[in-house]
Amino acid sequence: MTATVFSDELINSTQLRTQQKRWLDKALIKPISILSGEKQLVLINRDTAKDIFAYNHYASMVIQFCQEQKSGKNNESKMFPWIKYLDDNETMEFTNELLTSFLEVVQTKEWNTLEELIEDWIATAEVKSHPKLVEALLSKGDPAEHVRL
């Protein structure tokens, strides 16, 4: 299955040497594997490579976190240690948003949105670790007391 999904074209080093431009142009569109004896290299569009790396990175992260959650210790995580500051509902909300966002970015490839989501939750957990700050941020405030700059 990996070979099918990868859908590369196989060439040898002599073919690459004699028709370099042709193979480099082709590699922009789909991976070109170069076989030289036991050695195998691949030429791949950098954006495609970036997506493969990002997918691998975030998929590992999400799966590990889900495994941790499955173990039943909702507010403990090696992947996201800061969730200890979240309550059960917030942990659930984070988990749902993480999974939803991951599924979306697999399609859109906008990996930064996943990173932003995690950063937003880290900031939230940081705030929760400071009770005085929580109190200040949750206070309703009175517009009559507003101070204009």
């Binding site: 979240l86 917030e90 909300e93 932003e116 405030g141 009175d142």
Partner: protein, 96 residues
Amino acid sequence: MSDSKPTYEIVLESNKITKSWELLKSQFPEKMRDCELFLRKNPEDRSKALGLLKKLKGPFKGILQYDITKDDYRVWYAVDKKNNKVVIKYAGPHPD
């Protein structure tokens, strides 16, 4: 920045924040100038403050955090779109 965008007025939620706001301005004058400009023009637009803006979650939904420095100095605020105001709720390092 488009001129057609509304400009927000920045207000401190109460007089309790005045001291810490002024302290931040004296400690980080350039960064606070950038922060004020951002709050007046684009208080919710991440693309105008790359890596500096966080949108809080859970019970703090609607509150935003602007990082003045990489370490501990922050500004937390809410955007009142109806009245075109940015309300500063807390400014400074995390309280101990």
